[in-house]
């Protein structure tokens, strides 16, 4: 797209897609935003769309800012944030995101290095490594909870007992560790796969040149391989963060938010469920958006510059 005319042609042709994308994103976002400033308790009789049930009625309601619901200012926001659970939830979310990122990037690099070696049965091993990614989060959490971490029948419990130790009650004794373990297990294949392709694109002559220049295996890793991987690592971190901020099923299935594993997403779910307050839930949703953006800006600052090169 080098010339003026090809640029403007491109702009016109992209317009429908951009418009669709805007509608797609803006409608739910603005709905959430409006509702977060409203009192909306369906069980207490608050209704939208009083004029009728048609789409046109809803649209008019929406455009006029749901006149049947009372504006309450920042009340929902202060109510959501004032409970002590809020800061804990934010911290828990960040710890889980950070923990899983660290585990999947570090072990992803190690696994990718391993898989990059020529070995017998490479194809099968690679498919096996990717396999966890295909298991649904609910299922994998159930498998971990019942087959591995169960304090009486779990594999780990048997293992511990075989060595004469007391079985660890994983989900209540070390709940965060267990959760990070489960979620990392799911995301490790993704990281490994992306990092493996990056490894494979590393020019072997560069490594040989470094070897002749006197760089040992560690120096070759840190001076040649790691910088080469930086872009892939960035991509892994950015993509995973988006999904990890919204982790839900794993917590729902395992701890149910107990033992300090309540993330922001989970807190919103619980608050809405117990209070049946959609305004409050929306305020929580807006907080989640803000948190995601803070994390995104932070990430782009520290790792995003790797993408520019």
């Amino acid at each position: 797209m080098a010339t003026q005319s090809s640029r403007s042609a491109a702009r016109i042709m992209m317009a429908p897609a951009v418009f669709l994308l805007l509608v797609w994103m803006l409608v739910p976002l603005s709905l959430t935003l409006i509702l977060s400033f409203k009192r909306f308790l369906p069980l207490r009789g608050d209704r939208i769309g009083e004029r009728g049930d048609g789409f046109g009625d809803f649209l008019l309601d929406y455009i006029t800012g749901f006149p049947t619901l009372d504006w309450v200012g920042f009340q929902n926001f202060s109510a959501f944030a004032s409970s002590g659970a809020f800061t804990d939830a934010v911290i828990t979310t960040l710890v889980i995101v950070g923990g899983v990122l660290a585990v999947s990037v570090i072990f992803g690099i190690l696994l990718a290095m391993l898989l990059d070696q020529p070995m017998w049965g490479q194809g099968v091993v690679r498919i096996l490594v990717i396999a966890p990614f295909f298991v649904m989060p609910t299922v994998s959490a159930l498998v971990w909870k019942n087959m591995f971490m169960d304090p009486t029948n779990g594999l780990f419990a048997h293992l511990w007992r075989a060595f004469g130790a007391d079985p660890v009650v994983w989900l209540s004794d070390v709940p965060m560790f267990s959760l990070i373990l489960i979620i990392s297990w799911q995301w490790l294949p993704f990281a490994t796969l992306i990092l493996l392709t990056a490894f494979q694109s590393l020019d072997s002559e560069q490594l040989e040149a470094a070897e002749m220049d006197g760089a040992g295996p560690l120096a070759r890793f840190f001076f040649i391989a790691l910088p080469h991987l930086s872009r892939a690592i960035t991509i892994v971190i950015l993509i995973q963060t988006i999904f990890l901020l919204a982790v839900f099923a794993e917590i729902f299935v395992t701890t149910g938010g107990a033992f300090g594993t309540r993330t922001l997403t989970y807190l919103i779910y619980q608050r809405v469920l117990e209070s049946q307050n959609i305004g409050l839930g929306s305020a929580g949703g807006v907080y989640a958006i803000i948190l995601a953006n803070i994390v995104a800006i932070f990430l782009m600052r520290i790792v995003g510059k790797n993408l520019d090169r």
């Binding site: 020019d203 002559e205 560069q206 040989e208 040149a209 470094a210 070897e211 002749m212 220049d213 006197g214 760089a215 120096a219 001076f223 040649i224 910088p227 080469h228 930086s230 090169r309």
Partner: protein, 334 residues
């Protein structure tokens, strides 16, 4: 010092013998060129010397010491790769400093050597750029700079100029030759371009399928090629190899005559033919002549003022003192 001796060095990849047992002596300060067609094992031989590839059998001595099992970093050899193999995320300065940094050299000494190398290679203005921001020739120079600062016992070059355009290639060829004169260090240079071999080498090693066909100075190979392969490989345009009756007259299976050793006439001569393509280069004219028995087309190098056209009849006479004779095995008959 940089004397390298190969004794019965052999290399197999699985069952495939790429280098059959081979002996070679490279003296200190020599500029040795390995030349041969693609796939003949030039790079493999160089990598064996560098230590990037393990020998299957045999021994490599560097300066009289057995280096067969010595890891590449300890052989005191520096290599310039065909792809340059610069480190893309480091600046030129850091690239050049890398081997010294790995050797934990004193930073002041590092800087001194970087400045010297940069000055010698015209890189001073580019020290803070990354390889991606340099032209091919500049990258080549950075790769050489990175090799120089180590002050190695010998330099190994693997087709260093093959990614450059023709004009730049000529320039870099001279720069490398000059560098050799200045440093007086052993250099081993791999190429499949016989012009590079002829112009740069003290000693040319002609390889075919891993075998050494001949070792000698450029003029030795030009004047007395040991067999038809070397005869056809060294020299540009290629030597004309003639079989059949014309060769039998000289009691040989094959006779060879270089294009520049044929006298051209439009009236009379030993062989008659018709002009196919005449390439006028200005200084010279390369004429491809069809219809000479035993060699079709025969290439002739004539002066720039020869006036021949497609389809003209032409007479050629070989200069007897420049005729090469080869026997049934393709070996030179003295």
């Amino acid at each position: 010092m940089g004397r390298i001796t190969l004794q019965k060095v052999q290399k197999k990849f699985g069952d495939v013998e790429v280098i059959p047992p081979l002996d070679l002596e490279i003296n200190d300060g020599e500029f040795v060129v390995f030349v041969g067609p693609s796939g003949c094992g030039k790079s493999t031989l160089l990598r064996l010397i560098a230590g990037l590839e393990d020998v299957t059998d045999g021994q490599i001595d560097i300066d009289g010491e057995d280096a067969t099992m010595v890891p590449p970093a300890k052989r005191k050899l520096a290599m310039v790769f065909q792809s340059y193999a610069l480190y893309p995320h480091m600046t030129v300065r850091k690239n050049i400093a890398f081997p010294m940094r790995m050797a934990k050299m004193d930073p002041a000494e590092q800087n001194r050597r970087i400045e010297n190398a940069a000055a010698a290679l015209n890189l001073t203005d580019y020290l803070d750029r990354r390889p991606g921001q340099l032209s091919g020739g500049q990258r080549q120079r950075v790769a050489i700079g990175r090799a120089i600062v180590r002050e190695p016992a010998a330099f190994l070059f693997d087709e260093p100029l093959s990614n450059l355009d023709a004009a730049l290639r000529v320039g870099m060829r001279m720069e490398i030759s000059e560098l050799h004169k200045k440093l007086d260090t052993t250099m081993i240079y791999v190429t499949h371009d016989q012009v590079e071999a002829m112009t740069m080498a003290d000693k040319i090693v002609v390889l075919r399928a891993g075998h050494i066909e001949q070792v000698g100075s450029p003029l030795e190979l030009y004047r007395t090629p040991r067999n038809t392969f070397v005869a056809g490989f060294i020299g540009s345009p290629k030597m004309n190899l003639i079989e059949g009756a014309a060769a039998a007259e000289h009691n040989a299976q094959t006779i060879g005559i270089r294009p520049e050793h044929l006298d051209v006439s439009t009236t009379a001569g030993q062989w008659q033919g018709t002009v196919g393509v005449a390439e006028h280069l200005g200084s010279d004219t390369f004429i491809h002549v069809h219809g000479v028995a035993g060699c079709d087309p025969m290439t002739v190098r004539a002066g720039g003022d020869v006036d021949v056209k497609h389809g003209d009849t032409i007479y050629l006479t070989p200069q007897a003192e420049h005729l090469h004779r080869f026997d049934t095995q393709g070996l030179r008959i003295a």
